[in-house]
């Protein structure tokens, strides 16, 4: 694949000869300007559009609302930042979400990485079926995933049925995370330099050593990316959780429950914190990878 960078891609620059229409010089110049700047301006606007709601979330974490609802800007305050868990139930919900995200990420990342290794490394009977099975949960609407899990839990035993709690949410989160982990790690494995493993084996490393000293460090960035994705999917999941949680309340479910009566400002504080930490950890991993690549 030929590298395409900005200089080559800007068709107007240095490629004026491509315009064959006589008399179109003025129009051509306009088109060239448009080509040059319009798309860039558009991209700027699109990014603003994408980040506008995030900015609103952050801004309203500093709001000092008059009543219960945090919809109208009233004035700047830091008091909710100084007391971010000062609402009944919020702290528990946040810890529960963190625990869920942590556990489901670890388990889904291990299971998904193994599946990805099998799918990329080996050709075997049933590979196509396995690929489809990985793809299907991502192509099923969340509400159908949640609803089918709920009917399964209800069908186990007669009334009062299978209890819905932290454990059932965890099973569900691992399920939807596996596919995303497989897809992410597989993308990394696809361009894997196999000859490095062969070199290690030629130098008398056994398979165990080869895996941990050569293969694993090379696919680690893919595994970390997959784990970050899984963590962010899990901590933010509402629909599937809502179907498998029973009375257990995660952070998104807390938001949903409060949405009717007015969302406490602390929710925005926590949302902002999650955003900052997530952006920070992605930035740190990216920089670390870049450094290790150049160093």
């Amino acid at each position: 694949m030929a590298p395409v960078d900005g200089a080559v891609a800007a068709p107007g620059a240095g490629r004026a000869s491509a315009r064959r229409r006589p008399g179109g010089a003025a129009v051509g110049r306009l088109a060239r300007l448009a080509d040059r700047y319009l798309l860039l301006v558009y991209t700027g606007l699109a990014v603003i559009y994408l980040l506008l709601p995030v900015a609103v979330i952050i801004l309203f974490s500093f709001n000092d609302p008059a009543g219960k609802s945090n919809f109208v800007w009233q004035g700047f305050t830091l008091k909710y930042w100084l007391n971010p868990l000062g609402v009944a139930g919020l702290g528990d919900a946040v810890w529960l979400s963190l625990a869920l995200a942590f556990l489901s990420t670890i388990i889904a990342t291990i299971l998904g990485t193994l599946v990805a290794l099998a799918l990329v490394r080996y050709s075997f009977r049933g590979r196509g079926a396995a690929n489809s099975l990985i793809f299907l949960p991502m192509a099923t609407p969340e509400i159908v995933l949640g609803a089918s899990l709920l009917t399964m839990f209800v069908s186990i035993g007669s009334p009062p049925f299978f209890p819905l709690n932290f454990f059932t949410i965890l099973l569900a989160h691992i399920m939807f995370n596996i596919s995303y982990v497989v897809v992410t790690v597989r993308a990394r494995l696809a361009g894997f330099p196999r000859h490095l493993e062969e070199a290690a084996m030629d130098l008398f490393a056994n398979e165990w050593q080869t895996f941990w000293k050569v293969t694993f460090p090379l696919i680690l960035p893919g595994i970390i990316a997959a784990a970050l994705l899984a963590f962010s999917l899990s901590i933010d999941d509402f629909v599937i959780t809502n179907f498998t949680a029973g009375k257990t309340q995660t952070f998104p479910m807390f938001i949903y429950a409060k949405a009717r009566i007015g969302i406490p400002v602390q929710v925005n504080v926590i949302g902002t914190l999650i955003f900052v930490i997530a952006v920070g950890s992605v930035a740190v991993t990216t920089l670390a990878q870049r450094r290790s690549r150049s160093g």
Binding site: R20, P53, V56, F71, S155, A172, E207, F243, V267, T272
Partner: protein, 338 residues
């Protein structure tokens, strides 16, 4: 050679697969089957459920009663998919071809909204689109819109919310596909007289953009046909200026697998969504997801709810198959990776 088990080589892949695949069989395949079974139940949560094929009436009841919600879901999700395509394609194209060394930063900005809560983002739109919010407030102040004009609690708000929330699902696959386009092909097309500036390309571009803008106008400015016509005109003009023949004949066809994957990744979650309809809509914008959620979690009417969600799954399967026949690609499972 790098194998984990030398003697029984054939076991290795299955051993690696087993835990993950088993998990999906137990918590994805079996529940889906169980939901199908549950759609033939009768009874209640308190007394227990009994299975009988005679309960196919669950399906007739579901479809008789909730056909409008199904239809609405398809229309909203379809409109949102067209809109995400319109917004995402130029964005993905610019990042891929003109991003230069800012490519990764721009891609990061595209996915950055995912790092905040989905529910909070949707509620943010409630603040932005509010009757005197940062969007409508100033316009009303200037007297450009009547005081009682609203966006919130209308189909427009619901479709905008869905469009916003699923925009990255379109942008990333389209980016991956556009990024793969070998720019030498575009140059070759230009050398063969496919001008960046030839009427053929301009007209095609104007038609495509104008047509899509008309869809946009109809969906978004339905009570004001003049606005719709204006949108079509502006779209046509933009298309005329920006869309070259080489784009229509080379870049765009080569990026179609990404458009295909992106539209599925947008349409499928959009059609089942109920959060946008709940926060940004009104009782008349209820989608099928709202009905399913309500039946399952408030009314505990599992049999009909199961029939509803199984019908939704079947409807998606049919729509996706038809769509795949029309656009035809075998790369579905591979181009969608992000």
């Amino acid at each position: 050679m790098g194998t984990l088990l030398k003697r029984h080589r054939w076991i290795a892949p299955y051993a690696l697969l087993a835990p993950g695949i088993l998990w999906l069989l137990v918590f994805y395949v079996y529940p889906a089957f169980q939901m199908f079974v549950a759609s033939f139940w009768s009874g209640s949560l308190e007394k227990g459920f009994t299975f009988s094929l005679a309960n196919y009436t669950n399906y007739t009841e579901a479809i008789d009663q909730f056909a409008p919600q199904y239809l609405r879901s398809i229309v909203y999700a379809g409109a949102a998919t067209v809109l995400t395509f319109l917004i995402a394609y130029p964005l993905a194209y610019t990042i891929a071809f003109k991003g230069g060394r800012y490519k990764n930063v721009l891609l990061f900005l595209v996915v950055a909204p995912f790092f905040t809560s989905f529910l909070l983002r949707t509620i943010s739109w409630k603040i932005i689109l509010g009757d005197t919010g940062i969007l409508l407030g100033p316009i009303k102040e200037l007297g450009l819109l009547p005081e009682d004009f609203r966006l919130l609690a209308t189909p427009i708000a619901v479709i905008s919310g869905i469009t916003y929330n699923f925009l990255p699902f379109m942008t990333l696959p389209v980016y991956v596909a556009v990024e793969k386009v070998d720019f030498r092909l575009v140059e070759a097309a230009r050398d063969l007289y496919a001008g960046p500036w030839r009427p053929g390309g301009g007209i095609a571009g104007a038609l495509v953009a104008g047509g899509l803008a008309a869809v946009l106008g109809i969906v978004f400015a339905w009570p004001w046909p003049i606005l719709a016509a204006g949108a079509a005109l502006i779209g046509g003009a933009v298309g005329w200026f920006l869309v070259s023949e080489s784009f229509i004949r080379v870049t765009f066809p080569l990026s179609l697998p990404g458009v295909f994957a992106g539209s599925l990744l947008t349409f499928i979650p959009a059609i089942g969504d109920y959060v946008n309809a709940e926060f940004l809509g009104n009782p008349d914008t209820r989608m099928i997801g709202n009905v399913i959620q309500n039946k399952f979690l408030t009314q505990n009417d599992y049999p009909v709810a199961s029939a509803l969600s199984f019908t939704l799954m079947a409807a998606i399967l049919v729509l996706v198959t038809v769509y795949a026949r029309i656009l035809g690609t075998e790369e579905l499972t591979t181009t969608g990776r992000v």
